[in-house]
Symmetry: C2
Subunit: 275 residues, 2 copies
Amino acid sequence: MKEIQTKILLGDSKDILKTIEDNSIDLIITSPPYADSRIKTYGGIHPNDYVKWFLPITKELLRVLKSTGTFILNIKEKVVNGERHIYVLNLIIEMRKQGWLWTEEFIWHKKNAYPGKWPNRFRDSWERLLQFNKSKKFKMYQEEVMVPMGDWAKDRLRHLSDRDKTRDNSKSGSGFGKNVSHWLKRDKVYPTNVLHLATECNYKNHSAAFPETLPEWFIKLFTLENDWVLDPFVGSGTTLFVAQRMRRNSIGIDIVPEYYEMVKKKINPIDNYLL
Amino acid sequence: MKEIQTKILLGDSKDILKTIEDNSIDLIITSPPYADSRIKTYGGIHPNDYVKWFLPITKELLRVLKSTGTFILNIKEKVVNGERHIYVLNLIIEMRKQGWLWTEEFIWHKKNAYPGKWPNRFRDSWERLLQFNKSKKFKMYQEEVMVPMGDWAKDRLRHLSDRDKTRDNSKSGSGFGKNVSHWLKRDKVYPTNVLHLATECNYKNHSAAFPETLPEWFIKLFTLENDWVLDPFVGSGTTLFVAQRMRRNSIGIDIVPEYYEMVKKKINPIDNYLL
DNA sequence: GTTCCGCATGAATCGATAG
DNA sequence: ACTATCGATTCATGCGGAA
């Protein structure tokens, strides 16, 4: 079994990405700092400057991605002056000019949206998961993310589903459901482009931008074991931990030293011990 | 009780809208012909020409809408050449230049999406419901669309923690300004901006763009009885029938004579009989 | 061992107030 | 007039301790 590498790099993605080889990454998945938010940690990019700030980074991402690879961008526009700002729309348009293909837009339906009440809007309970590709012939392993057909099917297959589950959700991450028999697969259906996930709402620990199930789903869908995953705004490290568990090589970048140190300690503690 | 008017007009919205008074409509809700589809009925607008085709119409819609009114646009971009086309993004950007405010984007999650399988994408099970306004001070009747609390409440006996009841009271110290009655004995909550509606399997109608629950929800949310509702691409007439049932005045426009005749027969048959 | 209940908290937004 | 700060509002979830 090949050794899995998990790297965390400290610095500005715009610069650090330059050290990564051309056409070397299979999946980029990230949740960049949202405009004008996380002011304390990232400095807060103004919505009007957001596209200009992000485009040099997407240019590098385009370079390091394999032609068969995929870029998943988790983003949502803020309300500015009572309106949804259009920086995400402009970003998509500009990225296409760079050469990206805007293949699909998944919806992340956040089941536990932030509370609040306003006279003119409801709680925002969804975010965009934009899929970009370098070519039309990207790799996609649809069978890996098939879901049980429905509750009636779940009941009917309870014993077998349990066995399947232990493989599928195994935290050790060695091959999910690869050994599941064909007839069992027939009771599963392909998912849609709407993902229903709750945000992780930690009681005491600081939380991540997205729940582990989110990168897990896309890593299953777009990569195989020993493939390379990249998160240029890795933050608290969710993408790296999931990739490592699932036996994918991964690179995380973050500009905040505190995140860098925290992630470094948490990745691959066994290897550290052995060394 | 005031008489409710339900009008159906035959012709091109671009022209017919000119016969409607300035600032006279409370809610516009429509599902325009999608680019490159409905070829037999609408002539099939090519995605590249879509914005240019639609903008003269949105200009008229801006004129006829009251300053307190709302425009709900149900739309979804097609896949062209393996990519999501950007005409919807461009449309939003251009409509803002016309003076529209892009207040919000609701998601219509279609629970029973059209089946199918493709090698490089999953079933598309959502559409955009873009909310545009003429001014920030539009009317919104949020209480009309409140929904039952989530399942978690059932398990937890709907008992609110003391801290939730007093969280803000203790901060302000006055214990006076807060409306505690909102929290006590409450069983309903405000919805979010994600709507879960099944598409109607309607064999009888030619082209049911959306299920009745969709216009119903927005009519409840944005209008009162005797207000005026407009659908410039009324198709099989769903918007008109719902508006009439809910005692809202309404105007529907369609360019297809068959739709016009069909809708005309179905609206207010009692009045027709009396005449 | 279960179930029940209290508590903290989260990629938020509006309107008023202050500089 | 324009920008920065602050208080008020609100619901689903996971953890931890109690019954």
